[in-house]
């Protein structure tokens, strides 16, 4: 794309950028056509039908049904094309693929704290490998923020009380600005940083280099003991709370008969509002940890719970392979 080097379109650096820009150009072209059409007609009419005699009046044309139909249907069709094209991009944008490299992002007044799954932490900086699907799992400690990367053409609000996600695949190495795009108070404009997109080897070196931060699952294990979670959630399942071994990613049967997928949002809700969903066969005894644990600690606890995989090493790989072969 030649245009991206001009000042009109900023540099394209993600899998979304080309599609967003192409749709932008389609809307721009359509808009320019109609804007010019109206302006040219107004100019022509102004010249051709300008008043020549003070008492003259215009020809009493009252309207035209065929014209009304034409200029209703044409904009309608063009607008529906915009809608459908935009919807396709948006569905892709909202549905992260399954093979993502996950990074946890916490927005707080007025900084971004990021943590990679292996424990490397960053503040107002994000390092990602080029060509790899990356998913940001985002939470806010206070007000609504928004993680926005213009060169990637994407953004997503970071909302207190829930997780939101943002995925992308960087397509070009380099450093790109990211911003907080949702007004969040005094130093909103300082809540910015840089995404550094690196070659995979470089990224691996970066990840292993630097001071080794505590691994989030390890930190979560400490919290698990500190808050005495371990006294009820026994690995045997015989405690007052359900066992958490193998929980993450599984389907959980609830007391009201429904089932729920145990994902990040479910784990978070169960820590902060335990009474929202009661596991079948257990009493609603757990107190809320709302206000006691920070969003960061919730992420550590989630990482720890994620690490508690069911001790059935043979179940996955061998069972999958022949199954796949048959297909």
């Amino acid at each position: 794309m030649q245009l991206q080097n001009s000042s009109i379109l900023p540099e394209q650096a993600s899998n979304f950028a080309g599609g967003v820009d192409a749709l932008t150009l389609y809307i721009l072209g359509t808009s320019l056509f109609f804007a010019l059409l109206v302006v040219v007609l107004v100019v022509i009419f102004s010249l051709k039908y300008r008043r020549k005699k003070q008492t003259e009046i215009g020809v009493p044309v009252h309207g035209s049904v065929p014209l009304e139909i034409v200029w209703t249907l044409i904009p309608l069709v063009l607008a529906m094309v915009m809608f459908a094209w935009g919807a396709v991009i948006y569905m892709d944008f909202r549905r992260a693929p399954s093979d993502t490299l996950d990074v946890y992002v916490i927005g707080k007044q007025w900084m971004w704290k990021l943590q990679h799954t292996d424990g490397r932490r960053e503040i107002n900086e994000l390092h990602v490998p080029v060509g790899r699907n990356v998913k940001l799992i985002m939470a806010s400690e206070d007000v609504i923020h928004d993680f926005s990367i213009p060169n990637f053409r994407i953004k997503m609000d970071v909302v207190p009380g829930r997780y939101t996600t943002l995925w992308f695949r960087a397509t070009k190495t380099g450093r790109y600005h990211f911003y907080c795009s949702q007004y969040c108070g005094t130093s909103h404009a300082l809540m910015t940083g840089w995404v550094t997109v690196m070659e995979p080897a470089e990224y691996a070196a970066w990840l292993s280099g630097g001071a080794q931060d505590a691994n989030p699952a390890g930190a979560g294990e400490k919290l698990f003991t500190q808050y005495s979670c371990n006294t009820c959630h026994l690995p045997t399942g015989k405690g007052r709370g359900p066992s958490l071994v193998g929980l993450y990613g599984s389907k959980v049967k609830l007391a009201d008969g429904t089932t729920v997928q145990a994902d990040d949002a479910y784990v978070r809700e169960s820590i902060l509002s335990p009474k929202a969903k009661i596991v079948a066969g257990y009493q609603p005894l757990m107190p809320s940890f709302q206000g006691l644990v920070t969003e960061e600690q919730v992420l550590s606890l989630t990482a720890y719970i994620k690490s508690l995989q069911a001790p059935a090493p043979a179940s996955e790989a061998p069972a999958e392979a022949p199954h796949m072969g048959k297909k």
């Binding site: 804007a35 005699k53 215009g58 020809v59 994407i154 609000d157 829930r162």
Partner: protein, 557 residues
Amino acid sequence: MSATESRPAEQFPEKHYLNADYGIRSWLLTTDHKRIALLYLVSVTFFFFIGGIFAGMIRLHLLTPKGALVSPEVYNRLFTMHGVAMIFFFLIPAIPAVLGNFFMPLMIGAKDLAFPKINLLSWYLYMIGGGLALFSFMSGGLDTGWTFYTPLSSVYSNSAVAPAVLGIFINGFSSILTGLNFLVTVHTMRAPGMTWFRLPMFVWANYATSIIMILGTPVVATTLALAGMERLFHLGFFNPQLGGDPVLFQHLFWFYSHPAVYIMILPAMGVISEIIPTFSRKPLFGYKVMAAASLAIAVIGFLVWAHHMFVAGQSTYAALAFSFLTMLVAVPSAIKTFNWTATMYRGSISFETPMIYAFGFLGLFLVGGLTGLFLGTLGVDIHVHDTYFIVAHFHYIMVGGAVMGYMGGLHYWWPKISGRMYPDTLARFSAVVLFIGFNLTFFPQFLMGYAGMPRRYHSYPPEFQVLNILSTAGATVLAVGYILPIIYLLWSLRYGPVAGRNPWPSTGLEWQTDSPPPTENFHVTPTVTWEAYDFENRPDLGLDKPLKTDDSGRGHD
């Protein structure tokens, strides 16, 4: 005015609404809709200049990347108070409460609105609300953004949120009562012969606007009251730590605040639909379609609110539905634009000041409306949402559209309001200055926005400086375009030539009575025997019969 010169000079009427009574009490206790409209004119102009001063300071501050003028705390207050003053206390009341109040009864041949005392009450509620907002501005200011997003506004802000929210709450009742008054007036007080399809389009537009005011305003008033209660009494509506949902606030807020954009733009469209036929001396093209389009905008406009929330964490399918509906609401706006253009076809077009404003409106509304397509499209919104692109877009609609419409209407009806003409050449010049200044201020913001500059930033990366300087330069030109009319309109009150009853001339009933009108509007209740904008069958206007007969357009509508 060439049109007036060719007609016999008219005398200024001896008795009219302005000299019917004297003294401050005769104004503050008046129930005359025309005097109440002037009370609104003075008060909305006051808030416009308050908001304008804030805007000027914002633009000065953004001259340099680090911020040239004020601290972040002050900057955040400036853009918040700019938004609150302009939206709640200027744009929403401007056209309905000033021009609608003054002209709706005149245009339908009524003596007053249906409830004159409630009309006065509306103004007092507006003043109380405005007073509370000013109190908030002066006692710590307001730094939540005009959108009051929770939990920032309800928990974290250290500014005077409570009085501002209370002010907007009270002001909401002013809107509701005005809307109610308009609806009842149009239904019950039309002059003999003034059927629904003879109503001028400005009346239709205010009718549609009133529906939005009545249905939407209670929701925003309630929402802001809930946010206020959360702030004062820690009741958990929106704060997740108290079990609330911050996204719920956005749904409730935009349920009103998106239709509020149509409260601003529909009456402006109504003004344009008066001006273009008058200065083309032709019926409005597609009258019934235009009326239907106004109502369609009012109705569909209620179903698009969550397009402000495509990246706010709402469900994917909700976003799809709202994007679809948003694209639908673009269609009636497109229809209106084509009909205005077609109205000029085979007209007899003259270029007095109101027409220059109408051209300005058309140009700016085109840009504003078409850039709305980028934002309504999901795939582009994820990039331009909350950037300067959207700042530019809504200024093109709300300033380019609504304010150009308001200025056009003010110049169109000024001879009727004051009985005097303003200097037309100077007024046309200032309309052009306004148009150029506006584009210079806001067009660069589209480019900044697409390049990624977020809105509400007190400092910004240096690569955006050139565009910001252009924008600030434009704002100074724009300021000239707003100050000039104040000067020459005030000048005209004393020194302007006498306008006469119908200077343009125009077909509406409001032009059949004295300028300025008597307190009771008409000396004799008029009877309407003509269609709207029917120049052809109006020998009383002193105009020719149409030169060419037309056999293609008649009877098609």
